[in-house]
C-alpha cells in the first residue's frame, strides 16, 4: 500500500512529531501545555485522560483542524504552522479521522457518505451518488466490504445503529487512502459488543495497511489491550508515556489522578 503514504521527507523519521506544543483558545483557556512526543510509522497509540484533559484538542491539532499557539508540530514531514489553504487540505487528506458522534450525513445513503471520503482528491462540490465516478463507487464498496457494511450500501445512513454508523465512518476514512488514522473516543457512544467490533476493526486495518493510528479512549483496560503505546494527558500536559506492555491497569489509572504516579513516567519507546 505504498500509494497510501505520501510524504515530504522521503519516508524517514516519525510520522507525527510535536515539540513544546501549547494551545490557548480565545477565551483564555489553555488546552495544551508544552506537549512533545514523536510517533513512528505504523504505531498504534492510545491517548488516555479525563474529559477536558486535552485529548480531543491534541487530535484536532494532528489533523490540522487547529494550529498550535506556540511550539512546533510536524505531520508527515510538513510544518503545520506554515501550511495554508490548499496545502493544509492536502495534509488533511492523508489523515483519516473517526469521531465519537460518527459525523456522517444522516440524510445521505451509506455509499455516498463513504464516497465523500474522496472529496479531498476530487475537483468541485458533489451532491448525489451519481456525481461520483464509477471507479470511486466501486472502491467505496470495497471499503464497505472490509468493515462488513456493504449490504447496507443504499440505505439512508440515519437508519443505522451506532456501531454500524461507526463502521461506515471507518470506511469513509479508508476512502481517503490515509497514512494516519485518528480516532476521537471512537467507541464512547457504543454498547460493549459494538465497541469491541469497532476497536478490533481499527487494529486489524492498521496492521493490514501499516497505518499509524492515534486514538483517544476513556477505558484503561480497552486501551492496554489495544495499543502499542499509551500517552496520558492531564490538564493539557503529558503525564505518562510508556509502551502498553509495560503498564498494568493501576499504573495507567494514575493518569486520572486517583492513584500515585504524580510524576511523569517516561520510558523509551522509539528505540
Amino acid at each position: 500500500m505504498a500509494e497510501h503514504v505520501v510524504r515530504n521527507d522521503g519516508g524517514h523519521g516519525p510520522v507525527v512529531s510535536l515539540t513544546g506544543v501549547t494551545k490557548e483558545f480565545d477565551g483564555g483557556v489553555t488546552a495544551l501545555r508544552g506537549v512533545g512526543f514523536e510517533v513512528p510509522e505504523g504505531q498504534i497509540l492510545a491517548l488516555l485522560g479525563r474529559s477536558g484533559s486535552g485529548k480531543s484538542t491534541l487530535l484536532r491539532h494532528i489533523c490540522c483542524l487547529h494550529k498550535p499557539t506556540s511550539g512546533s508540530l510536524r505531520v508527515l514531514g510538513n510544518d503545520v504552522a506554515k501550511a495554508h489553504g490548499s496545502r493544509l487540505r492536502q495534509i488533511r487528506r492523508r489523515i483519516g479521522f473517526v469521531f465519537q458522534q460518527f459525523n456522517l450525513v444522516g440524510q445521505l445513503s451509506v455509499l455516498e457518505n463513504v464516497c465523500s471520503g474522496a472529496l479531498g482528491r476530487l475537483f468541485g462540490p458533489r451532491l448525489g451518488l451519481f456525481s461520483y465516478p464509477r471507479s470511486l463507487r466501486l472502491e467505496a464498496l470495497e471499503h464497505l466490504d472490509r468493515v462488513g457494511m456493504s449490504a447496507h450500501a443504499f440505505q439512508r445512513t440515519s437508519t443505522l445503529s451506532g456501531g454500524q454508523q461507526q463502521r461506515v465512518a471507518i470506511a469513509r476514512a479508508l476512502m481517503q487512502r490515509p497514512a494516519i488514522l485518528l480516532a476521537d473516543e471512537p467507541v464512547a457512544s457504543l454498547d460493549p459488543a459494538s465497541a469491541d467490533t469497532v476497536m478490533r476493526l481499527l487494529r486489524e486495518i492498521a496492521r493490514e495497511k501499516s497505518l499509524t493510528v492515534i486514538g483517544s479512549l476513556h477505558q484503561v483496560d480497552l486501551a492496554l489491550g489495544w495499543a502499542d503505546r499509551i500517552i496520558g494527558l492531564r490538564d493539557g500536559e503529558v503525564v505518562l508515556d510508556a509502551p502498553a506492555a509495560s503498564l498494568d491497569t493501576s499504573a495507567a489509572m494514575g493518569v486520572y489522578g486517583t492513584a500515585a504516579a504524580q510524576e511523569p513516567v517516561v520510558l523509551d519507546v522509539t528505540g
Partner: protein, 548 residues
C-alpha cells in the same frame, strides 16, 4: 408584567375609542349585514372557464414568485450564515440585502413594476419574489446555521473545500427545511396576491378589485370566496407536505410509504435484510457489482417531485404571460421610473398623511387588543396539554388553521361591505386575522410548558381553573408577550395596506398616489411606515427585556 398588560390594555382601549369602535357600531353593522346580503345575493358567479383561467394565472404568478425568491435567497443565505461565508464583509452585505428586501413592502414594489411593465403577471412575480427574500433568506440562513456541525467538521478533516462541505454536508441536512419554508412562503404569497390585484397585478385579486371598483359586489365576493377556497386548499396541502418533510423518517416511516419502502428493501437486490458477508471472503467481481441504488419508492418519489416542479415552472412561465415580448421593453425605463420615486414628497398632504399614519397605528393597537381577547381562549383550547380532550384540541387547531388561511384583505372587504368604509372594518378584519397567528403562538407556547408544576398542583387538589392561572399562564407569559408584540408588528404593517380597500389608515393615500401618479408620495409613506415599525421594534425590544 402587570405593568405591560395595563399599558397594552389602555393603549388598546384608547385606540378603540378614538377609532369609534363600540357596541353600537357593531350593532349597526349587524343590521347592515342584511343589506349586504341583499346587495350581494344572488352571487354573480364568473364562468367556469374564467375561474380556471384566473386560478391558473394566480397560482402561476405565486409559484414563479416563490421560486424566484428561493433562487435568490439560496446564495444570500449561504453568504449570510457563519457556516460558509467567505468573509465577514460578504456576511454583512447579504444580511443587509435580506433586511432591505423585508423593509420594502410588496405593494410598493408592485406599484413600481406595474409602472414599468404595465398590468400583468410579471410585476407580481418580481414584487413578491423580491419582497419574499426578506423572509425566505433569513429563514434559509437560520436553517443553514442549525445544521449539525459534525459532518462539516468531518469533511474539513478529509480536506474538502468550502464548496464541497456546503454541498455534501449542509445541503442534505437543510433541504427539508428549504422546501418547507418555500411552501410556507407560497401560502403567504397566495394571500398577498389578493392585495397586489388592487395595484394592477393580474389574477384573481385583480378581477376582485375590478369588480368592487364597478360596485359589482356579487361578482367581487364570488372572486373573494374563490381565492379563500384556494388559500385553504393550498394551506391544507402544504401543511401536510411540510409535516412529512420535517419528520425524520426512521426505518421507512409509517403508512403506505413505509410499507412500500420496506417492501422494496426486502425484494430489491442488496436489500437491508441480507446478512453481511463474513470478513475475509472474496468480494464479488468488480464489474458485476451494483453501484447505483435500487429503484425503490424513495427514488421514484424524488423523480416524481422533480418532474412536478419542472412541469409547474413550464406551465407557469407559458400560462401567466411572463415571457411576453413587450416586457423586455419595460426594463429600458427602469432608471427613469426609479427617478419618479425620488426624492420623497408630500404633494401638500403632510397633515392628512400624519393623521392617517396615527390612524394606522391605532388600528394596529386596537386590532391586536381585540385579537388577543379572542386568541387567548382559542389558543388555550387548541393546546394539546391544556384543552383536556382530543376533540376540543382538534377542533380549535382546525379553527386556527382555517383563520390563518384567510387573506386579511378579503376579510377586510367583507367588513367594509357590511359595516361601511372606515377604520372600524379594518380593526375587525385584523382582529379576526390575529386569531390565526396569535392563536397558534398561544397554543404552541402553552404546549411547551413544563408539566411538573401542573402535576404538583393537581396532586394538592386544585381545580382546573386554578391550575391554569397558577401553573400554566406564568410559565408561558414571556412567550405570550413575545407573541403579542410580534402580532402588533404584523398588524401595523398590514394596517398600512387596509386603505387600499377603504378600511382606514395610510393605505388610502397609497392607492390615491398610484392613481394620480404621485410616486414621490409613495416613497414618503414607505419611509414613514419604516419609522413607525422601527420605533415599535425598539419599544418591543425594551419591553421583552423588562419582562424576562
Amino acid at each position: 408584567m402587570i405593568g405591560f398588560l395595563c399599558l397594552f390594555t389602555s393603549a388598546g382601549i384608547w385606540s378603540l375609542n378614538s377609532l369609534g369602535v363600540d357596541l353600537t357600531a357593531l350593532a349597526q353593522g349587524a343590521s347592515n349585514a342584511e343589506m349586504f346580503i341583499r346587495r350581494t345575493w344572488p352571487l354573480s358567479l364568473p364562468s367556469t372557464e374564467e375561474v380556471l383561467r384566473q386560478t391558473g394565472i394566480t397560482l402561476g404568478t405565486v409559484f414563479l414568485a416563490t421560486l424566484l425568491s428561493v433562487a435568490l435567497s439560496l446564495p444570500l443565505a449561504v453568504w449570510a450564515s457563519s457556516v460558509a461565508t467567505p468573509s465577514p464583509a460578504h456576511r454583512l452585505m447579504s444580511r443587509g440585502l435580506i433586511v432591505a428586501a423585508r423593509a420594502v413592502p410588496d405593494v410598493v414594489l408592485a406599484i413600481l413594476f406595474v409602472r414599468l411593465f404595465g398590468l400583468g403577471a410579471l410585476p407580481g412575480v418580481l414584487a413578491m419574489g423580491l419582497h419574499s427574500i426578506g423572509m425566505v433568506g433569513k429563514l434559509y440562513a437560520d436553517a443553514i446555521e442549525q445544521t449539525s456541525p459534525g459532518p462539516r467538521e468531518a469533511l474539513s478533516s478529509i480536506g474538502a473545500t468550502r464548496g464541497q462541505r456546503l454541498l455534501t454536508a449542509v445541503v442534505p441536512q437543510a433541504l427539508p427545511a428549504f422546501i418547507a419554508i418555500g411552501l410556507h412562503r407560497f401560502d403567504i404569497n397566495l394571500r398577498v396576491s389578493a392585495v397586489l390585484g388592487f395595484v394592477g397585478v393580474a389574477g384573481i385579486g385583480f378581477e376582485m378589485a375590478h369588480a368592487f371598483a364597478r360596485l359589482d359586489f356579487g361578482l367581487g365576493i364570488s372572486w373573494a370566496l374563490i381565492l379563500l377556497l384556494l388559500c385553504l386548499l393550498t394551506e391544507l396541502v402544504s401543511t401536510s407536505i411540510r409535516r412529512t418533510l420535517l419528520r425524520d423518517p426512521g426505518d421507512g416511516g409509517t403508512g403506505a410509504r413505509g410499507l412500500l419502502t420496506r417492501w422494496s428493501r426486502r425484494s430489491g437486490p442488496g436489500g437491508g435484510a441480507a446478512s453481511p458477508p463474513p470478513p475475509g471472503t472474496e468480494p464479488p467481481a468488480r464489474s458485476s457489482r451494483r453501484i447505483s441504488p435500487p429503484f425503490g419508492f424513495d427514488r421514484a418519489r424524488r423523480w416524481a417531485y422533480t418532474v412536478t416542479v419542472l412541469a409547474g415552472v413550464a406551465v407557469s412561465l407559458l400560462g401567466s404571460g411572463v415571457l411576453d415580448a413587450r416586457n423586455t421593453a419595460g426594463w429600458a425605463g427602469f432608471t427613469t421610473t426609479l427617478g419618479l420615486f425620488w426624492p420623497p414628497g408630500d404633494a401638500g398632504m403632510l397633515d392628512g398623511l400624519l393623521t392617517a399614519l396615527l390612524e394606522t397605528v391605532q388600528i394596529g393597537l386596537a386590532a391586536t387588543f381585540l385579537g388577543a381577547l379572542l386568541a387567548v381562549p382559542v389558543g388555550t383550547l387548541a393546546a394539546r396539554n391544556i384543552s383536556g380532550s382530543r376533540a376540543v384540541h382538534g377542533v380549535f387547531r382546525g379553527v386556527v388553521l382555517a383563520v390563518r388561511g384567510l387573506p386579511e384583505l378579503v376579510v377586510a372587504i367583507v367588513f367594509v361591505v357590511v359595516i361601511g368604509l372606515g377604520p372600524v372594518a379594518g380593526v375587525l378584519a385584523l382582529a379576526l386575522g390575529s386569531v390565526g397567528l396569535l392563536g397558534k403562538l398561544v397554543a404552541d407556547s402553552l404546549e411547551e410548558i413544563d408539566t411538573g408544576p401542573l402535576e404538583a398542583m393537581s396532586a394538592l387538589g386544585s381545580s382546573r381553573t386554578q391550575r391554569y392561572f397558577t401553573a400554566v399562564l406564568p410559565q408561558a407569559a414571556p412567550a405570550l408577550i413575545g407573541g403579542l408584540l410580534y402580532q402588533l408588528d404584523v398588524n401595523i404593517r398590514s394596517a398600512t395596506l387596509l386603505g387600499l380597500v377603504g378600511a382606514g389608515g395610510v393605505g388610502f393615500f397609497l392607492l390615491q398616489a398610484t392613481q394620480t401618479r404621485e410616486y414621490d408620495v409613495i416613497t414618503l409613506i414607505t419611509l414613514m411606515t419604516f419609522a413607525v415599525v422601527f420605533v415599535l421594534e425598539l419599544v418591543s425590544m425594551l419591553l421583552r427585556r423588562a419582562v424576562r
